[in-house]
Structures are given as C-alpha cells and as structure tokens.
Amino acid sequence: MAEGHLVSVGLLAAMVVSAACALAVKDLLTAAALFGAFSFLTATWFALLGAVDVAFTEACVGGALTTILFVSTAFRTSRRFD
C-alpha cells in the first residue's frame, strides 16, 4: 500500500469531505450520520495501515457510540442547530 496510491488518496479525500459536510449541515441527525460515515472511513484507513486494533476501536466508538450519544442528545435538546 504505497503512498499516493489511488485507494489511499481517495479514502483520505472522502474522510476530509465527509468531515466538512458533517460540520456544514444544519441538522443534528444529519450531522451525526455524516460523522458516523467519517468514522467508518477513518476505520477503513486505519485497517489499511495495519492498525487493526485502532480500526476496531474507531469503528465501535466513533461509528456507533458517538453517533448514538449525539442522536440521544438530539432527542433531549433540539434537532435543529440554532
């Protein structure tokens, strides 16, 4: 997996784009879902780099748990960012 390979550059670009979208949208549920997508892309990148434990943790924590916490906050506060 050499540097500058199409897969790695595409994955990194997708990470940056999904993170930017998660910060740009005005709806908390959409932002949480986009953040989950960002986390799973990051986990894939970690697995490509051979950091399987980090990838596993990132997929569990970032993809599932952080998203769940943000969604439950949306239920408790408001869905729209004010």
């Binding site: 050499a2 540097e3 500058g4 790695s8 550059v9 990194l12 670009a13 990470m15 940056v16 993170a19 930017a20 998660a22 910060l23 908390l28 932002a31 953040f35 960002f38 986390s39 990051t42 990148w45 970690f46 780099l49 051979g50 950091a51 399987v52 434990d53 980090v54 943790t57 990132e58 924590v61 970032g62 748990l65 952080t66 916490l69 943000f70 906050t73 408790r76 506060t77 408001s78 960012f81 004010d82």
Partner: protein, 114 residues
C-alpha cells in the same frame, strides 16, 4: 507526505470549526474531527512499508521490520476511548445548558449571561 497533508487538513478543519461555528454542539463535532485528525497522524507515523499487522503469527522469533510499530497504536486506542468519554461529559453539560438557557448558540448564550 500527502498523508500528513491530509491529516493537517483535517486538523485545520476541526480547529476552524471549533473557532467559527456558532453552535456549541457543532463545536463539539468539530472537536471530535480534530481528535480524529491527531489519531490519523499518529497511526500514519506507525506505518512501515512492507510490514504487517502487529499480531504474531506462527513461526520463529519476530523481527522488528516485519511488524508495524505497536506503540502509537496503543496510545491511540486509549485516546479514542478517552475521547468518547469526554464527548459524553460534554454532551451532558450541553443538555444541562440547553435546559437552563434554552439555546446552544454561543452568541445568544453570551447575551443571556450579560
């Protein structure tokens, strides 16, 4: 080098979001992006060309060049779990702020506090 540049871009995105976005929840999302950028950077440092995952298979004595560097992996593993607990604590604070001031907008909060 492109990898490091992407990590720098993610970090800048997170810092800019923390500074510029008006809503505290969005600031928290930006903080998470920044943390992930730091983790991406460390894991990239641990990568070695031609090495495999740091789990010993069958065979003789392990050679250092055969495996990825496990130390950054360990540090980042705990960093991820600590980041989720700080996120949870911050969300609890935000729920409390929202139920007290009925807004999470930074400017409106400052207006109400004045």
């Amino acid at each position: 080098m492109t990898t490091y540049a992407f990590a720098a871009a993610l970090f800048t995105l997170g810092v800019a979001g923390m500074a510029l976005l008006p809503n505290l929840l969005r600031k928290l999302l930006a903080m998470n992006v920044m943390q992930v950028a730091v983790i991406v950077f460390f894991v990239s440092l641990a990568f070695k060309e031609g090495a495999t995952v740091p789990i010993l298979g069958q065979g003789g004595a392990p050679q250092a060049a055969e495996f990825m560097n496990p130390l950054p992996h360990t540090l980042m593993l705990t960093a991820i779990v600590v980041s989720v607990s700080t996120t949870g604590l911050a969300l609890a604070l935000l729920v409390r702020i929202r139920s007290r001031f009925e807004t999470l907008n930074e400017q409106r909060l400052l207006d109400k506090l004045r």
